[in-house]
């Protein structure tokens, strides 16, 4: 039951993530002939709204380090995810093995007591 529930959950996650890629219509070309952009970051959109509401507002502090390009930024995001996923994988590996060894130990114990 639990295993089936897990698979259903995984499928739901994949669907929720993948469906917007089909559902959202492709934007038309911008006036200057460039193809329109879709799936930009919400943080950037909020920045646009700020400049619409308060056109005179100027950010008063700049990031100390800025990734040199979007490639470098994606490198750092991948690094962040890799550190996290590595830790989770370590935990899962340890836990599964510990569970297996515990069951094995239980079986050995009952096996020897049965033979006595």
């Amino acid at each position: 039951m639990n295993r089936r529930q897990n698979w259903l959950v995984v499928m739901a996650i994949v669907l929720i993530t993948a469906l917007p890629l089909w559902l959202v219509p492709k934007p038309g070309d911008t006036p200057n002939g460039q193809p329109g952009e879709v799936f930009g970051g919400a943080d950037g959109k909020a920045q646009q709204v700020i400049s619409e509401i308060a056109p005179d507002y100027r950010p008063w502090f700049k990031p100390i380090l800025e990734p040199a390009s979007s490639e470098i930024a994606s490198l750092l995001f991948a690094l962040q995810a890799a550190i996290g996923a590595g830790l989770m994988g370590y935990w899962l590996g340890v836990s599964v093995t510990r569970d297996k060894m515990r069951k094995q130990a239980d079986r050995d114990e009952s096996g020897t007591s049965g033979a006595d």
């Binding site: 993530t17 799936f39 996290g84 830790l87 836990s95 599964v96």
Partner: protein, 225 residues
């Protein structure tokens, strides 16, 4: 939910920093004491932090046509209560602010408040309420992580609307605009975060049942769920 560097007026930046600071101090003390009393929980705390690192690095597409990311705070808030997750959220946000120019130091206070303070308190509160209503463990975990994530993005919208009220419609009109970007985009992502959290809790209940029994929110009913 990251308010970009320099994009909050000085008095708001200072205000949110002052609002978050006591929670950070409280969290540092709470984590230190918990690990002193229960050193065996170090691994679970690491899992909670790792989950938040992974999820906040994943920018997922949403039906609104823009991308945003879950926060992963809910899991830890369920396991350890909000006290531990304020510190974890701070670490994740500092990493992103310093290395990725995502968020920022001047907006750190506001971002800690929305993600780590509001997010984890809402998640823990919803979980407690759902368990009190005798909802199943999976449903309670889902609701807690999902609503905690959503609450973070609503908070960000409120923070921005407060700092930048619309010249015509004021705070309300501005809130509608920012919520349109953050909160609506976040709905499917919050559902994803809720589902992912259920998966991890399922694994925890199976493999770490012994440790789970000592966690505050799982104390009463966790054992027989």
């Amino acid at each position: 939910m990251h308010i970009m560097e320099g994009f909050l007026p000085v008095e708001h930046a200072v205000g949110w920093t002052l609002a978050s600071a006591p929670f950070v101090v409280w969290s540092v003390r709470a984590v230190r004491q918990r690990l002193y009393e229960h050193p065996e929980q170090r691994m679970l705390l690491g899992v909670a932090a790792a989950f938040s690192l992974v999820l906040s690095a994943l920018k997922l597409p949403s039906v609104t046509g823009s991308c945003s990311h879950p926060t992963g705070i809910g899991l830890g808030a369920l396991l350890f209560g909000p006290a531990a997750m304020v510190l974890v959220g701070l670490v994740v946000l500092v990493f992103q602010a310093l290395l990725l120019a995502h968020g920022g130091l001047t907006t750190l206070g506001a971002n800690v408040f929305s993600m780590a303070v509001v997010g984890s308190f809402v998640a823990a509160g919803v979980f407690r309420a759902s368990r009190a209503l005798r909802l199943s463990l999976a449903i309670s975990v889902f609701l807690a992580a999902c609503l905690g994530d959503l609450a973070t993005y609503v908070t960000t919208s409120i923070q921005l609307a407060w700092a930048f009220p619309d010249p015509v419609g004021g705070f309300t009109a501005s809130l509608a605009k920012f919520a349109g970007i953050f909160a609506i985009t976040q709905i499917p992502l919050a559902i994803t975060e809720g589902l992912l959290t259920v998966l991890v809790v399922n694994a925890l209940m199976r493999f770490n049942a012994e440790e789970m029994r000592h966690l505050p929110l799982f104390l009463r009913r966790g054992a027989r769920a």
